[in-house]
């Protein structure tokens, strides 16, 4: 079905969960007033990104009042949001929730925690172990958190699991100022567009803005149609409230026009991956 999505391009405060929840609730209210069906927040919207030793301090449990409040708000609008999750075994995950009609539809724990260059996630966080598509009012979705999307297999698995819409929650740092556009922005734009094109999927990309210790997050949240075409793109480096009307017709037409996913051979893929796995002795 057709739906309207808001990509909430916010500027979280580092380590300030209460302040960020105020911002988040404000955005949710604004999206509801505008008649939107779904609002997507960035990765770690509740806490900020470069948390380091703050991870245990900002972590919330799924049964915490903060999450219960958001679940309650999802009666009025569907919500995808990133936060630090504290699990029963006291492992901490970079997680995303999809909330709808007063219930949790899906919890995704970031699988690929970048620990190179300026990133240090695996030092502080535990790795997720699955990619699963899930059903929503608007069709079958898959959720990815930032670095997850740089692994082809992640999007591929979600698409093979039936997702026709991929949501990516991101905190992508700005870098690369020698080209026509920002280096990290153009890399992401290629990635989201190509992923949409390969998998005949829509991509809803929500990236934050603001600075943490001199590192800028560049925004540019985007809705990419299944043709790979960018339909709406948010402001660069500034807060934005990106609204996109997502229509079912363009998905249907694209899947008729380019039925690559229909023809994708799961048996061949699995057979070859199993062979590689055997040969590697894993």
């Amino acid at each position: 079905m057709d739906f309207t999505v808001v990509l909430a391009q916010i500027k979280p405060k580092l380590g300030c969960v209460a302040d960020n929840l105020t911002t988040i609730e404000g955005q949710i209210a604004k999206a509801q007033v505008a008649g939107s069906d779904l609002i997507v927040f960035p990765e770690l919207a509740m806490s900020g990104y470069f948390l380091k030793d703050l991870v245990p301090e900002v972590a919330v449990r799924i049964d915490s009042p903060e999450i219960q409040r958001l679940i309650e708000l999802s009666r009025g609008i569907s919500i995808a949001i990133g936060f630090v999750e504290e699990a029963n075994d006291y492992h901490f995950f970079n997680s995303a929730l999809y909330l709808e009609d007063g219930a949790i539809r899906h919890l995704h724990r970031k699988v690929y925690l970048p620990t190179y260059g300026l990133f240090d996630e695996q030092r502080y966080l535990a790795r997720g172990t699955s990619f699963r598509a899930f059903d929503t009012k608007f069709g079958r979705f898959g959720m990815l958190i930032c670095e997850d999307m740089w692994h082809l297999s992640a999007s591929y698995i979600l698409a093979m699991d039936g997702a026709t819409t991929l949501i990516c929650l991101s905190s992508s740092p700005a870098r690369g100022i020698d080209g026509d556009s920002l280096g990290s922005a153009s890399a992401w734009q290629k990635l989201t567009s190509t992923t949409a094109l390969f998998l005949n999927c829509r991509v809803l990309y929500s990236n934050r803005v603001g600075f943490e210790d001199g590192i800028n997050f560049w925004g540019g949240s985007e809705y990419i149609a299944p043709s790979g075409e960018s339909v709406v793109r948010g402001a660069l480096m500034e807060e934005d409230f990106v609204t996109a009307c997502v229509d079912e017709g363009s998905l249907r037409r694209e899947r008729i026009f380019s039925p690559m996913m229909r023809d994708e051979n799961l048996f061949v893929t699995l057979q070859e991956l199993q062979r590689i796995s055997r040969q590697r002795g894993q």
Partner: protein, 273 residues
């Protein structure tokens, strides 16, 4: 070289945004800056004026008796061009009073003393004006260690510490910094006739080409030689980076506990901001 070419529109947006965001998030609206008459501090003044409004930028020119008079003229030219607050506080009396006790001190000690004297004035004005001190060291200087620790290297925030001198020139042209300031020979102006390039023994353009490949692209020495760089030049620059690394780090703390500051007690400086 594509890598040293800067998209100045993008760079300007990024650096102006940096100053606006990082200054205001600590509850401050003003900055203070030492204006030397050179291009680096001129560029930072222009960035700050655009970010916070010229009325919130306080520039101080701090000449010593041996400073080139042209420096003060250029500092005033820059302040006027971007409309910021401007004052002059000479440091001769303070520096002279000290070196009366050490009349034989060589240029390096005198130069460091001047840089640190200026630092104390800027940080005093930080308290006086409730303003953050902006740094003006560029990436070339920081990598080469061509600056005074706790002197001109000291600041609260540095907008230009990740751009090379070559990129400082490009952005300065794009932002309309007076041509006289862009075109003159870079100089620390610690003594008469001093120029950076003469003192360093190579030009900024030469060394930036090398630093970009060595630091940003992580080319090996063999690859750098294959790219046409002289091995002695490579070794010299590598040693400069290595030997000045202490200037780019906090003092080393002897580890005793389970949580040592910056070792296993790790928080962003923007913690709670």
């Amino acid at each position: 070289m594509a890598g040293l070419h800067a998209n100045t529109d993008l760079l300007r947006k990024l650096l102006v945004g940096f100053v606006k965001d990082e200054v205001r998030k600590v509850g401050v609206s003003k900055i203070v800056i030492g204006l030397s008459g050179g291009i680096d501090s001129a560029l930072v003044a222009f960035i700050a004026a655009e970010a916070l409004g010229p009325e919130n930028v306080h520039a101080i020119c701090m000449p010593y008796k041996s400073s080139n008079p042209e420096s003060e003229t250029h500092a005033r030219l820059v302040a006027t061009a971007c409309g910021i607050n401007y004052s002059i506080i000479p440091i001769t009396a303070m520096v002279e009073a000290y070196f009366e006790m050490f009349p034989d001190a060589e240029n390096m000690r005198r130069g460091n003393k001047m840089a640190r004297e200026r630092m104390t004035i800027l940080f005093d004005h930080s308290a006086l004006l409730r303003a953050l001190v902006l740094g003006t060291s560029n990436k070339t200087e920081l990598l080469l260690g061509y600056g005074t620790l706790y002197g001109d290297m000291a600041s609260a925030l540095n907008p230009i510490g990740d751009i090379y001198k070559s990129q400082v020139w490009q952005l300065s042209s794009a932002m309309g910094i007076p041509a006289a300031v862009i075109e003159k020979q870079p100089s620390a102006d610690l003594w008469a006739g001093q120029t950076d390039e003469e003192e360093l023994g190579f030009t900024y353009r030469q060394v930036d080409e090398l630093l970009f490949r060595m630091v940003d692209q992580r080319l090996t020495k063999a690859e750098l030689v294959a790219d046409g760089f002289d091995i002695e030049f490579i070794e010299t620059i590598y040693a400069k980076i290595q030997n000045s690394h202490f200037k780019r780090r906090l003092p080393i703390i002897a580890k005793v506990s389970n949580r040592t500051i910056d070792r296993d007690f790790r928080y962003a400086r923007d913690w709670g901001k």
